[in-house]
Symmetry: C2
Subunit: 210 residues, 2 copies
Amino acid sequence: MAYRETEKMRQRKAMARQKIVDCTYACVSDGGFRSARITRIAALADVATGTIYRHFESREDLFAEVFRLATQREVDKVAEALATEGDVTARLEHALRQFAERAIRGPVMAWSLIAEPVDPKVEEERLKYRRAYAALFEGAIREGIQNQCIPDQDASQSSTCLVGAIAESLVGPLSPAQADGNVSIAAEDKDRLVNSIIRFCMQGLTGARN
Amino acid sequence: MAYRETEKMRQRKAMARQKIVDCTYACVSDGGFRSARITRIAALADVATGTIYRHFESREDLFAEVFRLATQREVDKVAEALATEGDVTARLEHALRQFAERAIRGPVMAWSLIAEPVDPKVEEERLKYRRAYAALFEGAIREGIQNQCIPDQDASQSSTCLVGAIAESLVGPLSPAQADGNVSIAAEDKDRLVNSIIRFCMQGLTGARN
């Protein structure tokens, strides 16, 4: 008789896998990918290190999954912000502002998603997700061009400029949090930082003093 | 009698090391870091693979050195463009244009320097060099603010926006060259691409329609 996985076994396996992912996620939020050692994850998830490798081929695969999970949340937030009613430039500004503010609120995780040197598998995911962000911005820019509230331009190129500008300009401000644990950015610095990024981005798009 | 390295031995060692670096550089220019396998580099440099590890602790160290060498050339070009005479906005525009045009002329190497998923050591170098570019732009932006040809702004933040916008917006256009060998970008597409990046960047900085 062939071995068959029962429904209950499948559920238990899925739950164990989920717990490993959740614990890795917690480690990364707390100290970046570099702090997410397999022994630490195993201890947190209360499993043997070998168990982790029954669920994931490698540490890199586990990291890539956690990266996708965490980044997809941010992509969804941008999509939500862009899907609201009203003026498309206001929605773009809102989406950019939200992205920056969320990053500043969770600076360790944000730094890990945007800039932490990890491994090629995570880098591949980064490239993919940058395209996902750009695709969202591109749609909004096209809409703005059509409605004549954004000057005619190459929407695809401008969308990648937005993604690059906002990501790169957060790397520096988020770095200390990564280096020293959860150092938070002072509220007034935060506002100044976010405003200066938004200004550059919106001016870049519209050519109007912001 | 203690073993002493003679001057001649030192020179031969330095030359052998240089040849390994040059051959790796050639491989990366031709097909990215992923094509720069140690066996291939050894064959090109006409040495045994073990010899490479006498000069470099690891493949990652060799890659990091080639990355630094290639990126420093680009940083120097930006520095030169910014150090010329004349209006600072024109110099900034010239530096950005030159960066983009050089990338398009050597798309495989440019993609490898800007975006190829490699390993954490190369990623560390990427972060450092992005700061080097930003520092150059920041100096020019400060000068422009002082001369009142650029509106007052956080020069440090804007410099990182420039670095992010120009790098990210080149990733997509450079990717096919990486995937399919040295596919070149058509001259008219090249101009349109470069102009659209420059426009976004200069508008972002100045808030004036470009």
